[in-house]
Symmetry: C2
Subunit: 231 residues, 2 copies
DNA sequence: GCAAAAGTGTTACCCTTACACCCATGT
DNA sequence: ACATGGGTGTAAGGGTAACACTTTTGC
């Protein structure tokens, strides 16, 4: 099989960027890293990097995730978000970036890896209103947040924001934070416990939230057609 | 602003591919073109091509759409589907392709352009069961069809399959064909005519379907939260 | 005991579903 | 007249939303 003539069509650099979301202190937060080099030096940006020669796109996203946060695949939900390739999105050359949406539980340490000069969790409201993100990352973050919000409705991804074992009240906090609404605790409880394959009871309980001990659950395998919840 | 050293990271070719769907004769069909060159010579493939040097991804998709079908942007619904970049998806070199989902009304002539040696509309059921498509296009088509099916539920994209003016019965045919189900004509009628901003009445009627004259509508601008329809 | 959160029961309301029925045209 | 699809009315059933009420802990 003959190879293409490389001069026959344009050459692109391909990167992956992560919209890595978590719920911290009642706020939906994204991980951002401070850029060490040009362009946008010193500005905050989404974590990401170049796809390697013989690396799949998803593999590249998972590798960046591990390098930037130490998170492993089994801890998080990851899905492709969208691809951005405006000819002018990087002033130096033509770069197409494949963005990935990652939903993770709150992490003890914000960042484990040291690939970037600095990293932090920041509320998405702040990031989106300040308009200080590098490149077109504000657009990417915005679409990632929108995707996350709508996915809570008809899938079980909300549990990806929770630790391995969690209570119904903690799961409700996720919905309330991501959607910015208040939900009726009683109806919420009935709904999620009544949805088949959404939650797996562990038999254990906890009183970490105060009040009567709450049953602890693990994430089930539900990905149901009818909306799981709607505000 | 200094340019990158092009040898510092891998070079990719970037293409766009179209999952171009329409409803013909009660079947959901996709446009496929016969490949003239290697690899997969003579096999059917999704229409697509290389993104140009200074061309946006969406612009490239719209250009391919016009070249392959003569369709203009205002005639169709177009949205980004997903990006595929397995290192081995093209045996010659590293190619990342951005796939676009296009929903179009049934066309008088299958193909207007002549960029490809041959082109045809083929039922997606046939394409997906024969396993004869080039590259990873069966996966791409499959995910495009799945996206189209789920989008009918909570958006008004079904009208994109209809001509400029259409009846409620014709719109129902779209749902029944794409979903492969039968819907109650009376309840369907009530539902779509009762959904605000989904349909715009033209004042005209037609008897082209036989029976009592049906009111003709144009597509509205609805993109509503609650599912418009569910089987 | 009291506050706080978990969890259960009950009822009104709404939306969907199923189907009886009438309408307006072509043949 | 009658077949065909368009369109309206209506009643039963399931799910949601609102909220009264009980349970079980920590302090």
């Amino acid at each position: 099989m003959p190879a293409y003539d490389p001069s026959a069509f344009p050459q692109f650099a391909v990167t992956v960027d992560l919209v890595l979301l978590t719920v911290r202190d009642g706020e939906l937060c994204a991980l951002v890293v401070k850029r060490g080099g040009t362009p946008y030096k010193g500005r905050w940006a989404l974590p990401g990097g170049f796809v390697r020669e013989k690396e799949g796109l998803r593999d590249a996203a998972v590798r960046e995730l591990r390098e930037e946060t130490g998170l492993r695949l089994r801890d998080v939900h990851i899905e492709q978000l969208a691809t951005y390739g405006d000819p002018k999105r990087d002033p130096r050359m033509r770069v197409v970036t494949v963005a990935w949406l990652v939903l993770a539980p709150d992490l003890p340490t914000p960042v484990a890896g040291t690939d970037a000069a600095a990293a932090k969790w920041e509320p998405v409201d702040v990031l989106l209103s300040e308009e200080r993100l590098a490149f077109d990352h504000e657009t990417i973050l915005s679409e990632g947040v929108e995707r996350a919000r709508s996915k809570l409705e008809y899938s079980s991804v909300a549990t990806s924001f929770c630790p391995d074992e969690f209570t119904v009240g903690e799961l409700r906090d996720v919905y309330e934070t991501v959607w910015g609404v208040e939900l009726d605790p009683r109806n919420f409880h009935r709904k999620v416990t009544g949805t088949r394959d959404l939650l797996i009871e562990t038999g254990r309980t906890t009183t970490r939230g105060g009040g009567r001990p709450a049953r602890l659950y693990q994430s089930g395998v539900a990905m149901l057609n009818p909306p799981i919840l709607r505000p």
